[in-house]
């Protein structure tokens, strides 16, 4: 008994000191990765100029000694990508954590109940509907394309449909939710495939969107998505106790005084909101939302008081790092890099935890 407790000291929840180390370390890493990411790129604009430009733009410190192209590179290209990566990475990892706990399914990710398929269908439809010019013009002052708005709306709408389908009189069983999510996703994916088949010369744009990229991140887009993502973060963080209770099973959660059905609705809605807003910035980026929660759970245990903020910090770090790699590697899709970076580390951690568990 003592041995088991020693092997998983976090089972009782992290101590204050441990949380500080995990989150503090994560924040330090996130800051370092963000700074490096702003200071490094394919062009020769380096750390000194990047730092000076940011200080100049933010606080008016110093005088411009750099060419205006450097300012455009740092302020309009690199920085929005870093901030976008932060928001999307944090949102995906956090939503993944919530869905895995809520659905009690290790394969759950932010896209599991229809967000990705819905957002994809919305985005692809928008890419192929240039006929809606007046609508586009109306949105243009927001700096948003029709694509972003449709992706966001599509993602949320898909979740609403899935939820409505899965709902029975007694509640919404998670198995039904998963199955409905799978079926609706399949249907929407078929719609995406059909539109792609019919897309003609727009196909390149469609494929590019579906693969996901932070290359389109711009200040107006971030201004649209950031409040939604950050807002859902705050509300999710406040619900860590209820997520812990749900981990015990719905019946136990009810006994602990949790209004399970209401909680499921709220958590699903918030996670879908963060996911859809992120997808509107970047398209569908895989892997981060599936693996970061597992990684952190293996490393730090399942307490959501730590897991939720940690998933945001580490998800953001992973995606910014992956995007840096993607940029330097000639613009390959960032989803490939997240998998290349994350999967070996995840496998190593998985192996290690198995070895530790099998010790007498």
């Amino acid at each position: 008994m003592r041995a088991a407790t020693a092997a998983r000291p976090l089972a009782l929840g992290p101590s204050f000191g441990r949380s500080t180390v995990v989150l503090g370390g994560g924040l330090v890493a996130l800051t370092a990765i963000s700074l490096i990411s702003v200071a490094v790129g394919t062009s020769g604009v380096g750390a000194t100029d990047a730092g000076a430009i940011i200080l100049h733009r933010l606080f008016g410190i110093g005088t411009a000694t750099w060419p205006s192209s450097s300012e455009a590179i740092v302020w309009d290209l690199r920085l929005p990508r870093v901030v976008g990566g932060m928001l999307v990475g944090a949102g995906l990892a956090c939503a993944g954590t919530v869905f895995q706990a809520l659905l009690r399914n290790p394969m759950a990710d932010p896209y599991v109940i229809g967000t990705a398929a819905g957002a994809s269908l919305g985005a692809v439809a928008a890419l192929l509907l240039p006929g809606l010019i007046p609508f586009i013009a109306a949105l243009w002052w927001l700096g948003l394309g029709l694509v972003q708005v449709f992706a966001f709306a599509g993602g949320l709408l898909a979740v609403v449909v899935v939820y409505a389908v899965a709902r029975a009189q007694g509640g919404t069983p998670v198995v039904t939710l998963l199955l409905a999510g799978y079926a609706v996703s399949s249907l929407l994916s078929a719609g995406v495939a059909l539109l792609m088949f019919l897309s003609g010369d727009r196909l390149a744009a469609v494929v590019s969107w579906l693969l996901g990229s932070l290359g389109g991140a711009s200040w107006p887009r971030l201004a649209f998505a950031a409040p939604l993502i950050v807002g859902s973060f705050v509300l999710l963080l406040l619900r860590w106790r209820r997520l812990n209770a749900l981990l015990l099973g719905e019946e136990q959660a009810v006994h602990l005084g949790v209004d399970v059905e209401r909680e499921k609705r709220i958590l699903t809605g918030l996670a879908a909101l963060a996911t859809s807003a992120g997808v509107a910035i970047s398209g569908t980026i895989g892997f981060v939302g599936l693996v970061v929660p597992h990684l952190l759970r293996l490393a730090f245990g399942p307490d959501h008081r730590l897991l939720l903020p940690a998933s945001m910090v580490y998800g953001a770090s992973l995606l910014i790092l992956a995007d840096l790699g993607a940029r330097l590697a000639g613009g390959i899709p960032v989803g490939i890099v997240t998998a290349l970076l994350g999967a070996p580390f995840f496998l190593w951690l998985l192996r290690r935890s198995l070895v530790m568990r099998s010790r007498p």
Binding site: A11, Y111, G200, S208, F287
Partner: protein
């Protein structure tokens, strides 16, 4: 909570949710800087198409739609370029209105055909960035590469401080990227000629921008003479039903679509193009029905293993149904090695036309 929190597995654990968007297994991303680039990529993908399942289909559909068939969209130039008339207002091939305050001195070309037009107008020295597929003329090979693996690197583009970007149309340069470049304050002209006449028009447009009108006149005269010479050479010949194979995978052949630029060049070169539909997609059955008398394997330009006549014949004869085609029975299968000049819509298109005519009517060019 008093006792350890354990994660429980519901029965749903066995359900493997569908992965959407296949984020990690796409071999290629999107937009080629030019058609031949895309075809080249496809050539590379040939050996792997089985393992990659649906992915090559995307690439293929892309190529077919973006390069072979390009019906519909045609945006004639509205403003006649008049040298030294800056600020110059013009309408590009995407129908966009572009205003230039002065003749640009730092130009970035996002497609090899654009590069060739600039250089043919004696303005190679104004180029400050090209694509990694640029190979002509020789002096552009060492220029900074702004497009890598079909991706425009915006950071490199901005760092090169261009005052004009020449993009490719029809989403070869994604419209989202064009918008981003414009947002960064750099004017963009989209070039997407879909016929010989449109190539001439584009050369004139670029010449107006470069203030090289006289050079354009002599260049276009030369090109027209070259085209006329090919037409004269093949005049009165029989017109064999000819399949130009852009790509082939698993029984589906991608060729010059009906009404496409490539199909029109083949007609000029004295062939009856076998086109399939407007997209140039042909299943083996359609092909057998159309029964081409001559097959030109454009893919041989990128695949040395198909570069001899014997190898080319062996490759196509092994495909289901192909051994019955007239072209295969009569051994009229040509490894076509001039794909680049034939499909790159720039000043060398006349060379491509002549290469086509030579391949179709070798007897007329002795």
């Amino acid at each position: 909570m008093a006792k350890p929190v354990e994660r429980r597995r519901s029965p749903a654990t066995v359900i493997v949710p569908q992965r959407h968007g296949s984020q990690v297994d796409q071999p290629d991303r999107d937009v080629p800087p030019s058609c031949e680039r895309e075809w080249h990529l496809m050539g590379n993908l040939r050996g792997t198409s089985r393992g990659l399942a649906g992915a090559p289909l995307l690439v293929l559909m892309l190529a077919v739609s973006a390069c072979v068939a390009s019906p519909g969209v045609s945006a004639p130039l509205s403003a006649a370029p008049s040298p030294a008339a800056f600020p110059l207002t013009l309408t590009d091939d995407a129908g966009r209105t572009v205003v230039l305050d002065a003749s640009p001195g730092r130009i970035i070309s996002l497609a090899p055909s654009n590069t060739e037009i600039v250089c043919a107008l004696d303005a190679c020295d104004r180029l400050v960035g090209v694509t990694d597929f640029d190979d002509y003329p020789a002096e552009v090979v060492d220029l900074p590469k702004i497009v890598l693996q079909t991706q425009v690197d915006l950071e490199l583009l901005v760092a090169a401080e261009p005052d004009l970007v020449l993009a490719a149309g029809n989403e070869l340069t994604p419209s989202s990227v064009i918008a981003q470049i414009e947002d960064l304050g750099v004017p963009v002209i989209v070039l997407y000629p879909e016929s010989l006449e449109e190539i001439y028009t584009d050369i004139e447009m670029v010449a107006g921008v470069l203030d090289q009108g006289a050079r354009a006149d002599s260049l276009i005269d030369d090109m027209r003479r070259g085209v006329a010479a090919v037409e004269a050479a093949v005049e009165g010949s029989d017109r064999p039903r000819t399949l130009y194979e852009v790509f082939h995978s698993e029984g589906t052949t991608y060729t010059a679509g009906e009404g496409s630029f490539l199909a029109s060049l083949m007609e000029l070169a004295g062939a009856t193009p076998v086109t399939g539909d407007a997209e140039g997609v042909m299943e083996a059955e359609d092909l057998v029905a159309e029964d081409p008398q001559l097959i030109l394997l454009g893919t041989a330009s990128y695949d040395p293993s198909m570069a001899t006549s014997a190898a080319a014949l062996a490759v196509v004869a092994a495909r289901p149904g192909w051994s019955d085609l007239s072209a295969v029975r009569d051994a009229n299968v040509v490894p076509y090695l001039d794909d680049i000049v034939t499909t790159r819509p720039g000043p060398r298109i006349v060379e491509g036309l002549e290469a086509l005519a030579r391949a179709i009517h070798p007897d007329r060019f002795d």
